[in-house]
Symmetry: C2
Subunit: 346 residues, 2 copies
């Protein structure tokens, strides 16, 4: 019996995780579920965005299905109490360093992308983003300069161990896919990037079957618009990965369709849609549950070693999308109706 | 008599600056020109990417027309000797802290953009990027961790003075344009961004006529694809501005059309196309000189206070583009023929 922790979080998180759970339950697999509060919801109930019980459940579970965190009513709180700390804390405490973000156009959804259909149709890429280091987790704070001015600072850094393990994740993914890995950095300006580039190049020696290229992040942002079809797997740091993966997702059309996996080196993982908590539509039954359902499919594949079940869920989502669409895709389906359509297609 | 420093640099830099100079000369204005080496070209001739004579000329000139730097034969040099140090050095030594990067679709060039024509047509935005601070200029280096691992690090920081002066540049630009300023940061993770957000909000009190919004950088990268027409002026830091402005430029179609200005607080400036040195097509007469010619127009407007001459040059480029296109826009014109077409349209 595998234990799945369900952390619905804020905004539309509870609505979309509920549909994903229904889909997992319908598969008749030996799965047990336990839920806990996280993010703003947890802060309001307990005073902490990531309470010890939630962290304990996350450690104990075999995999985590995560909704979203983010709550405008917490904007004025000190950084350590904000909802975002919950997801950053889970990634760090569970050493979930490898974030996989696939982006691919669903057939029939060409009209949802701002890109020309002939460009959008070529997109089939995977971004492998590092999640445990970079300027996200370096020493940071406010201080006063010699001239008496307030100054904010954040240290960006990577060591060779951190780069090597995410490079391996990138090469392994490229080997399973099209055999091409593009490493994105800013080595013409940053020492952190220079080390990144050196180490990725060293790791490449173990992967003679994968073609490695390097690209500066400004150029990558440009190429993702100009010709996204050129990419197979992109591996990059935490900050650049945050920006580029959201950009890539929008090239595909709706951010409401894109799942993600955050993995440690044993295959344990946290699975979440890449969209946020969307407080403006929370509680209205309008949110698209597909990204979370597809995240559950990634969980079946990467943490539970149930690739057939994963395939079934992904195929069901593709079939359901032919006839059913939520508002983000120009349709009128509710969250529950979209979930029903996926269940029907299973 | 105003003195214009011409720094052609590497790759296609000499070809495109030559055409821009011909256009400036054809205007019959009291301008004098002096050229100097910069980037890889300067390194190969003198051992330094930014020789003292070049810096001296840049200080003495009223404005600088810059081509591009970047030379693959310098890739293995230590960071301080690489071509990129020349442009970073000029920006810093001359306190050129405000980088203006307009992005707008030229009528008739809808087909050059990867975005749908109806989306591309809505783009008319200005990115105001900070150029003198951020992780670009913080303490950086390689060190060994306690565990004996190589580590690269770069300190990101801004103080309130640095943020305030670029915020003012952003608000002033918004006041001259559509009255809307969007400040882009990552305040949910970075202390540098939190200070940025606080200071921009403080400066906003002096600009009641400008509508200020804040956006996280990952969302901004998404919105620039989804609905770029929503933006008027974007103000952001050095690193985020590097990424977002290249992304925005590609939404417009060819990066060969986009100029930029880098200004100090007296109106002195360096003007450069936002494209790079394009070593693959250097010396072949294929490069599009329009971005550099439009950079010269920005120089006329911002440093030489000749707005009418600037308008004339911009109108001539628009007219020339109706009938003439270089290879980057699917045409067959050479660099010189494109320059001739602009001169003809003047
Ligand atoms: C909420 C935020 C801290 C987070 C990040 O920046 O990593 C989010 O944008 C993401 O990409 O998962
Ligand atoms: C060449 C490089 C250092 C530079 C930068 O990152 O600022 C370039 O990309 C730019 O945007 O002008």
């Amino acid at each position: 019996m595998a234990l799945i922790a369900i952390l619905p979080g804020d905004g539309i998180g509870p609505e979309v995780t509920a549909e994903a759970r229904r889909v997992l339950e319908a598969l008749d697999l030996p799965l047990a579920f336990e839920s806990a509060l996280v993010g703003g919801a947890a802060y309001h109930a307990t005073g902490e965005p990531l309470p010890p019980e939630t962290l304990e459940l996350a450690h104990r579970a075999d995999a985590i299905l995560f909704g979203s965190v983010g709550d405008p009513s917490c904007d004025a709180l000190e950084r350590g109490l904000r909802p975002e700390q919950a997801i950053l804390g889970l990634r760090k405490e569970l050493t979930l360093f490898a974030n996989l973000r696939p982006a691919k156009l669903f057939p029939g959804l060409e009209d949802a992308s701002a890109l020309r259909p002939e460009v959008a149709r070529t997109i089939d890429l995977l971004i492998v983003r590092e999640l445990n280091g970079d300027v996200y987790f370096g020493e940071k704070g406010m201080r006063t300069t010699a001239a008496g001015l307030r100054q904010g600072y954040d240290l960006m850094s990577y060591d060779e161990g951190e780069v090597a393990r995410i490079a391996v994740a990138g090469f392994e993914a490229a080997r399973r896919r099209g055999g091409r890995l593009c490493s994105v950095d800013k080595a013409n300006v940053l020492e952190t990037s220079q080390l990144w580039r050196d180490v990725v190049t060293e790791v490449a020696r173990e992967y003679a079957d994968v073609t490695l290229t390097h690209m500066y992040v400004d150029n990558a942002a440009m190429q993702l618009v100009r010709d996204p079809g050129q990419f197979d797997v992109i591996v990059t740091g935490n900050l650049f990965g945050d920006i580029l993966s959201d950009q890539a997702s929008m090239c595909v059309g709706s951010i409401g369709l894109l799942p993600s996996a955050s993995l440690d080196d044993t295959g344990k993982g946290l699975y979440e849609p890449i969209h946020g908590s969307a407080p403006d539509i929370a509680g209205q039954g309008k949110a698209n549950p597909c990204a979370t359902i597809l995240s559950a499919a990634m969980m079946l594949r990467h943490s539970l070693e149930l690739p057939d079940a994963a395939d079934r869920v992904e195929a069901a989502v593709a079939r359901a999308l032919v006839t059913h669409r939520t508002a983000d895709l120009g349709g009128t389906c509710s969250t529950r109706e979209m979930g029903d359509a996926v269940l029907g297609a299973l």
